[in-house]
């Protein structure tokens, strides 16, 4: 009856966990953002090199549970080469998908779709979100012309809200 378990830890997810993508450092960190889930102790650091409005290259390093690591890895894989607007829209979609809000899933979601099983584990949703929240904060800061790091801390342990 550990079907749930396999729902969450799908093979794709375990694969990303075992060999995370986005390890390579970027040449120039136009966006640099750190995120953490204090209650889990997940810690994530993310840099993006921009080329005009395209996210040219992404480096992400995550110390945390399989879900946060895999989610960060998938993010790195997916957003590379996408435009600012595309990535923003994608982040919205992922958020909605994870929270179980109605949303159309685009065809090019790729491995990310595999994160859906996390929904059955409410406390883990914020782990799956960590990379995305961290990225979005970094992008906001970049848009507003702020240099330097942003730091994001998701909510504490109840999986109900995040900020």
């Amino acid at each position: 009856m550990s079907s749930n378990l396999d729902d969450m830890y799908r093979e794709i997810i375990l694969d990303h966990f075992r060999s995370p993508r986005g390890k390579k450092e970027v040449d120039r960190a136009d966006i640099s953002s750190d995120g953490q889930n204090p209650s889990c102790g997940d810690e994530l650091s993310l840099q993006v090199e921009m080329d005009h409005d395209v996210l040219k290259d992404v480096h992400v390093s995550c110390r945390g549970c399989a879900i946060s690591v895999a989610s960060a890895s998938m993010l790195a894989e997916t957003i590379k080469g996408k435009s600012f607007e595309e990535v923003k829209a994608l982040a919205e979609t992922v958020k909605k998908m994870l929270k179980g809000e109605p949303t159309e899933l685009p065809d090019d979601l790729g491995d990310i779709e595999a994160l859906q099983g996390v929904r059955q584990f409410p406390v883990r949703i914020k782990c799956a979100l960590l990379a995305w929240v961290t990225l979005v904060e970094g992008m906001k800061s970049y848009e507003n012309g702020h240099a330097g790091h942003t730091t994001v801390s998701t909510e504490d342990g109840n999986g109900k809200t995040e900020k």
């Binding site: 204090p38 209650s39 584990f121 409410p122 406390v123 883990r124 801390s153 909510e155 504490d156 342990g157 109840n158 109900k160 809200t161 900020k163």
Partner: protein
């Protein structure tokens, strides 16, 4: 009420008649004998009895789902958390609040009010500020404010009561003024029964920027409470007075206020990050819920709310009005019995205080108990009101959903018998 849901849980299904006998059957304790008589429980303002569904929810929780909440990643912890948060969401619906983060679970109405005193009052009440109370407050909504006023050099103003037991609003313009920083008043009085015009007074207080605390301990169990209509800023009540287990209370508060308040208890669960130099607090509502909460009782309270909703709060109010009317009539038939509070059932709830000219309320209560009738006698934690009434104590019969005319008749008969017994 959905007949389906009612059938499933074995709750009363009649939509038309208020089937008190059916309801009585749902309360195991009401089948008990006390001193050789059937239990006539008329002490509902103190605490109510619990229906089988609530007791069963407790058993179920401890037999199947018990774990600590929030931080667990195992099945039992998830079930417990889910049950706990389900009740919070239910409470929000019950009082018509869209934001569940505004619903804080406490150990009772008393703690809920103290949370406001410490979290808001401590930082917002300054010397010379005025705190407006009514003359009919329970100690829970009186002692915290008077103590705070003493500490801060603030002034307590009181809204007096009329001889009929209503708030006397004739001088209200002189009581609620630009100096008013806080208005704290009961929605319904536990002694007089009076239902206060909270919405009207809240509006008036808000004109001067005051904060309004409603003590709903005697209202939430008995009528539809719509926070948005009441227009208060804080509202407190206790689960145990509305079919729920002991040890659970609710504080509802406006998010803007709650977010700017300091926490009350400090410890686990209410924090975000803890270091020796810096501590950051959790989001609402958890910021105010330090430590392991009263999980099982919160979980079971959900069933109490469902039970009340299945009957319907408006029908409960109608039933209590009819029964109160009957009780007031019967008691008036006994010469010398003096009844406190409004006589018109529209403006009062089902707590009926009375006195006998020669027999002390404690003797009344002891005598009635020998006939299986439970009432309360004393100052009902409202000593300031007692002084206003010129009484040291009263006897109080307070009614609820399972009470019937025959309960009132039993009270009536026993009071007559009592007169004979004491030979007065």
């Amino acid at each position: 009420m959905s007949t389906d849901a009612a059938n499933k849980t074995g709750k009363p299904v009649t939509l038309d008649a208020f089937d008190t006998e059916r309801i009585k059957a749902d309360f195991p304790i009401l089948q008990e004998q006390i001193n050789g008589h059937r239990l006539v429980y008329l002490d509902n303002a103190a605490t109510t009895q619990k229906p089988r569904v609530v007791i069963n929810a407790l058993i179920e929780h401890y037999r199947k789902n018990n774990a600590n909440v929030h931080r667990g990643l195992h099945t039992l912890a998830e079930r417990s958390t889910e049950g706990f948060e389900r009740t919070r969401a239910h409470i929000a619906r019950f009082i018509n609040v869209p934001d569940t983060g505004e619903v804080i679970l406490t150990k009772g109405a008393t703690e809920a009010i103290n949370l406001v005193t410490y979290g808001w009052g401590e930082h917002n009440i300054k010397p010379g500020d005025e705190i407006v109370l009514t003359e009919m407050e329970h100690h829970a909504n009186f002692v915290p404010w008077v103590t705070l006023a003493q500490k801060k050099g603030a002034v307590i103003r009181r809204i007096p009561i009329t001889v009929c037991g209503h708030l006397d609003l004739s001088d209200i313009d002189k009581i609620i003024t630009p100096k008013t920083k806080l208005l704290a008043l009961c929605h319904a009085s536990n002694v007089l029964g009076t239902i206060n015009q909270v919405a009207e007074l809240a509006k008036r207080a808000h004109e001067f920027g005051a904060v309004v605390v409603g003590d709903g301990a005697q209202a939430a169990p008995h009528m539809t409470v719509d926070i948005q209509q009441l227009g208060v800023d804080f509202y407190a009540f206790s689960a145990h007075k509305m079919l729920g287990p002991t040890g659970v209370g609710v504080l509802w508060g406006r998010r803007e206020l709650l977010e700017n308040m300091t926490p009350f208890n400090y410890g686990g669960e209410m924090i975000r990050e803890v270091g020796y130099e810096r501590i950051t607090f959790n989001d609402l509502p958890w910021k105010f819920e330090a430590g392991t909460p009263n999980i099982a009782d919160v979980v079971a309270f959900d069933e109490a709310l469902t039970y009340l909703e299945d009957i319907g709060m408006d029908r409960i109010r109608a039933h209590e009005m009819a029964l109160t009317k009957y009780a007031l009539e019967r008691l008036s038939e006994i010469s010398g019995i003096e009844i406190q509070g409004p006589q018109d059932v529209e403006s009062r709830g089902a707590a009926i205080s009375f006195t006998d000219p020669t027999i002390h309320p404690h003797d009344i209560s002891t005598f009635l108990d020998s006939r299986g009738i439970a009432i309360r006698a004393g100052h009902h934690c409202a000593q300031p009101l007692m002084r206003t009434l010129g009484k040291v104590a009263t006897a109080r019969a307070s009614l609820y959903i399972y009470n019937t005319e025959s309960d009132i008749d039993a009270l009536y008969d026993a009071l007559l018998e009592m007169r004979k017994y004491f030979g007065v």
